[in-house]
């Protein structure tokens, strides 16, 4: 029995949260539900599990890498070819802190940015399930269900206030 992806569009948050609750009761697991929205809606409001993110870990990793790179630049490179300047120590600490800071921040920021890309699979131009109404502020609940349960679920969600419930195909965004 083939699964089908359905989309239920909601205007407001409360019906959407109720709908998710309903779906869960009807045997659609959280794994098979995907909520799309035009503005960030905290997961707690919809009663959804906490989405996992690696971004902060990557930031930390970037910061560590940056710090090491900064240390290398300030304390490593001068020793690779000794050039004295103006009576300064060859690897002074105070300017080193600046280099260290800037490199740490740069790498951390880059890693964070790339982290978003990695975690979200950006850029992704393949056809995906989507409807433009989501960016109009609607809350779209995409869920997979068995084809034969389609009507049942649609009815149940309709009662909860879903504007449209329709099967969706992956489409070119």
């Amino acid at each position: 029995m083939a699964d089908i992806t359905l989309l239920a569009l909601f205007e407001d948050i409360d019906p959407a949260a109720d709908a998710i609750e309903k779906l869960r009761h009807m045997g659609v697991t959280d794994d098979h539900i995907n909520v799309l929205s035009g503005a960030p809606i905290p997961y707690k409001m919809l009663g959804r599990p906490h989405p996992h993110t690696n971004v902060s870990k990557l930031s930390l990793g970037g910061a560590i890498a940056g710090a090491l790179f900064g240390l290398f630049l300030n304390f490593g490179t001068p020793n690779m070819y000794y050039i004295p300047v103006g009576g300064q120590y060859i690897t002074p600490i105070p300017p080193g802190l600046i280099v260290l800071f800037e490199m740490t921040m740069l790498f951390a920021l880059l890693a964070t940015f790339l982290g978003v890309f990695l975690d979200s699979y950006f850029p992704n131009y393949r056809p995906m399930e989507y409807t433009p109404e989501i960016s109009d502020g609607k809350i779209g609940i995409f869920f997979k269900c068995a084809e034969n349960e389609q009507t049942k679920i649609a009815d149940a969600l309709g009662v909860l206030g879903a504007e449209t419930i329709k099967p969706v195909e992956a489409q070119q965004l």
């Binding site: 050039i83 004295p84 300047v85 103006g86 009576g87 300064q88 120590y89």
Partner: protein
């Protein structure tokens, strides 16, 4: 030779610079300097310094590596030149403010000769060193003055520059966009060292002189090792009239000016 260094005077970083061996230095007797510009001309001829023409010269773009300053004091008829003429060039500071600010190490300190170097081909022209030089001793190549078309002659459709024949092959001809400054005629230092080495001896005091000192008709400029107590320059610098310029900035200049009188 070990020199005693006053830590209170020069600070911890300066102590290292002051204690260094191989320091070349200069003493300039302001009592003797007649302001005749022979040093300026000699320096220009030795070091391939370009002249810049009337407009740029008046606008503060002269390339002189050494300039003779004079300040007025008093009013007519009791006016006089304060303290005599003052030749001003790179002071080859032991603690040079120009050096650390270059982002690409174009003006490093020479540990071997204890001079401030200017590596022309490394310079990218940020001009930070010149801003940070309290002596205003650096000059920038604002354009390729040497090859300005009005200095050349058309010969068979090709621009030739007869004046280039005079160039000293021991000194790089600077192109536009790089900083330059007095080098204490490092090419002469190298030549003398090379000669001394090939003869298996040390460079003798007074064996050679930079172009300015060699030309100076009044013998106002003395050059030599200032870490050798018995060299002429050390004797002159220490005879009691010596002052160093902007000493309070702790740049540890290697040029001592001898006061008038």
């Amino acid at each position: 030779m070990q020199m005693t260094v006053d830590l209170n005077r020069v600070g911890a970083k300066g102590a290292i610079a002051e204690a260094a061996e191989g320091k070349w230095g200069m003493s300039i007797d302001r009592d003797l300097c007649t302001g005749c510009q022979a040093c300026v001309a000699a320096c220009a001829m030795e070091n391939n310094i370009s002249f810049v023409g009337e407009e740029d010269a008046g606008y503060g773009r002269t390339q002189h590596w050494i300039r003779i300053e004079r300040f007025w004091e008093g009013a007519y008829p009791n006016v006089k030149i304060a303290g005599g003429y003052q030749p001003m060039m790179c002071q080859q500071c032991g603690h040079a403010p120009c050096e650390p600010v270059c982002p690409v190490f174009a003006t490093p300190h020479s540990d071997a000769e204890q001079l401030n170097l200017q590596v022309y081909n490394r310079c990218i022209g940020t001009r930070y060193c010149a801003n940070n030089c309290p002596y205003q001793a650096r000059s920038f190549n604002w354009r390729d003055y040497h090859t300005m078309p009005e200095r050349g002659n058309m010969v068979n459709g090709k621009l030739v520059f007869p004046l280039h024949n005079q160039f000293n092959p021991d000194v790089t001809v600077r192109r536009r966009g790089v900083m330059e400054k007095c080098t204490f005629c490092i090419q002469r230092i190298h030549k003398a060292q090379d000669k001394a080495k090939s003869e298996g001896r040390e460079v003798m005091d007074g064996e050679f002189a930079p172009a300015c000192a060699q030309a100076c008709p009044a013998d106002a400029i003395t050059f030599g090792r200032i870490d050798h107590k018995d060299s002429l320059v050390s004797q002159r610098s220490n005879e009691g009239r010596g002052v160093k310029h902007l000493e309070d900035l702790n740049t540890l200049p290697r040029v001592t000016y001898l006061k008038e009188g």
